[in-house]
Amino acid sequence: MDQSADHLPACNVLRAEGIRKIHPRGETEVAALRGVDCAFVENTFNFILGPSGSGKSSLLYLLGALDQPTSGTIWFRERALSSLSPAECDRYRREEVGFIFQSFNLLKTLTALDNVLVPFLPQGISRELRERAVELLREVGLGHRLDHRPSQLSGGEQQRVAIARALLKDPKLVLADEPTGELDTATGAEVFRYLRTLHRQSRATVIVVTHDRRYLEAGDRLMHLRDGEVEREEIL
């Protein structure tokens, strides 16, 4: 694989150049990423695979502007994320990125429907938006659980709520951090089925971090990370 950013195809929606991320751990430092170069093509379903501690989640957070790299640049279309003001960064997360966490990260005081609507709460919820949220929840099989709180939902159901939340904003990027990590195999497969279906409908670029090879046939590209570096890339 050619890791030079200069030679990446023009339809790349996201690319990373020389990304390093160092986490301070007390008096020592842990290098999560050691100079990663990569690119993601528009409207593809991508996997980042690697063992624990390989830096795959760290890379995903940086791609979603949830964290800042120690060095290196991430480009979304032609704009470097590091050049964005805090307000622009907020807008990037709000309008371009849908994030799905391993541990669902739903707000416990809100219902399933309100959790889906959470990104738009500050702007106010229009009737159209509410109807879209209800439709998304129906698409992931939760039409009958709209008013249930997270504590009343199973793990799979919570993750499906999180998927609906990520897709409500019709993002260009969907970033999923081990979305099946806390689910059993059957539920995990179901979640992937929804994810794949919604990807086809939304035409967003999906990047899924996982260490489970069972769901890989659902993707287009696979990137292997090891010890904070890109080991290799594959077309699936």
Partner: protein, 461 residues
């Protein structure tokens, strides 16, 4: 689901914590409303009480009230000659120390010697116009011990018209009861002036003060004319050390201090020798002899205290000036109330800051999630500051309501002694103040939270 509902649900999700913060703020606002209603009540009582004075009062310069004033009787004819003076009423005041064998401490009670003939000629006469039972003093009551008292005194001592009771050792006959509705002036037992002179020992050469009814619309002009009339004359200023009790040749405060001084110096509590009273003066009589200040004491002599300057020898006060004087006296009270409120408010602010910091710390993952979902820094700031502002608003409403209830309760229980006044302005200010306080208290945790990167927040959680 709007931001407001989200903020409410967040507060309700931690009921105990929110309730404690609310309690702290509510108590502070109750304290604030109660304390400031004392001051407002005092001002209101003053305005109501002195607003009823249509005339002016002439007293000894510096005397806070007529009780502590003394003027020569001879000056009465001079005041009466001033253009615009329609009626001149001499007054003699004495403190009622013991009524029906009970020492009178608080509220104080005063024996007011009224010149019946002139007082009854006044167009608007305080007390006479407020009679609720019996009759007012008339010519036939001259030289007698017949008295008119306030409703609060009658209730305190369970007296009715026709009853006889003893005040300062003299048996009085109750002929009338008045009610001005102002605890500040419903303090007097009215008797004929000559009888009060006998009781107090104040001779005919002196009066406590003069009440002047000026011609219509000429109150200020008459006041100024009286001042001018006495401008340049020797001024005898009233000093607190002038205070004497009837039957005692010395100032009780002064005597106590001398005894304490003796105790400290000689190790024993010795009585202070009585000194000759210069002219048998009663309460409020100004010092006429420097010797009574005690040997060796560096007190100003009578001559030293007499000074001639361009000031006037009398103090002429209108209703507005009485009000201003009381306001001046209560200024320190205002400061004290502010300090006390400040302490309570500081505790409440710390409570809210603590609550919001705890809330933000506990919900740090939630804040990370919100930011990961595109919430801007301003959105996070608005949510957290909004939650604390909501706490402030609810605490303010509760505090203002309960504080108002407390003032009403106090007013109904001690209606004849105190009138607290929680004005609508004070209540609205309290609510606004609490809301702003809540908002400001939430700002620090809100700013802290909004600055976090989403993953920093999620990792901290």
């Amino acid at each position: 689901m709007g931001l407001l509902r989200f903020a409410c649900s967040n507060l309700l999700s931690s009921k105990v914590r929110s309730s404690l913060a609310l309690l702290g703020l509510t108590v502070a606002i109750i304290g604030m409303v109660s304390l400031f209603s004392v001051v407002a009540g005092l001002h209101r009582m003053t305005d109501e009480a002195f607003g009823r004075l249509r005339g002016v009062i002439v007293l000894q310069p510096g005397a806070p009230i007529p009780l502590f004033s003394r003027l020569p009787s001879a000056w009465g004819s001079e005041i009466a000659e001033v253009e615009g003076v329609e009626i001149l009423c001499p007054e003699v005041w004495q403190r009622a120390n013991v009524i029906e064998g009970k020492m009178v401490i608080s509220p104080p009670r005063f024996i007011f010697g009224v010149d019946i003939e002139t007082w009854n000629r006044l167009d608007h006469a305080l007390y006479r116009d407020d009679l609720i039972a019996g009759r007012f003093l008339e010519e036939q009551d001259r030289g007698t011990s017949r008295t008119v008292i306030s409703r609060s005194i009658a209730e305190e001592f369970n007296l009715a018209v026709g009853d006889r009771f003893v005040t300062n050792g003299i048996e009085l006959e109750l002929i009338g009861i008045y009610d001005t509705k102002s605890p500040m002036i419903d303090l007097s037992l009215l008797l004929d002036i000559s009888r009060v002179r006998e009781m107090s020992g104040m001779g005919p050469e002196s009066v406590s003060a003069y009440y002047v009814q000026p011609a219509a619309g000429r109150q200020d002009a008459v006041s100024e004319a009286i001042r001018e009339r006495f401008r340049g004359r020797p001024v005898e200023m009233w000093l607190p050390s002038d205070l004497k009790l009837p039957g005692s040749g010395s100032n009780p405060v002064e005597s106590l201090m001398q005894r304490l001084d003796g105790l400290l110096k000689r190790g024993r509590f010795e009585p202070v020798p009585e000194e000759a009273e210069p002219n048998g003066a009663g309460s409020g009589e100004p010092a006429q002899n420097g010797a009574r200040n005690g040997p060796g004491r560096e007190q100003p002599t009578f001559d030293e205290r007499l000074r001639v300057d361009d000031s006037t020898a009398v103090d002429v006060r209108t209703a507005e000036e009485w009000g201003a004087q009381v306001s001046g006296m209560t200024k320190d009270l205002d400061y004290m109330m502010m300090v006390l409120t400040g302490v309570a408010v500081t505790i409440a602010v710390l409570g809210i800051v603590n609550t919001m910091l705890m809330s933000v710390s506990e919900r740090i993952i939630e804040i990370g999630i919100l930011k990961a979902n595109g919430w801007s820094r301003r959105n996070v700031l608005t949510l957290i500051a909004g939650e604390s502002g909501l706490l402030g608003l609810v605490g303010g409403c509760l505090g203002a309501t309960i504080g108002w209830g407390v003032t009403q309760g106090i007013n109904s229980v001690w209606s004849d002694r105190i009138q607290l006044y929680a004005s609508p302005g004070l209540l609205l200010f309290s609510i606004g103040f609490a809301t702003v306080l809540g908002l400001l208290s939430g700002l620090y945790p809100a700013v802290w939270a909004m600055r976090l990167m989403p993953m920093d927040a999620i990792r901290r959680g």
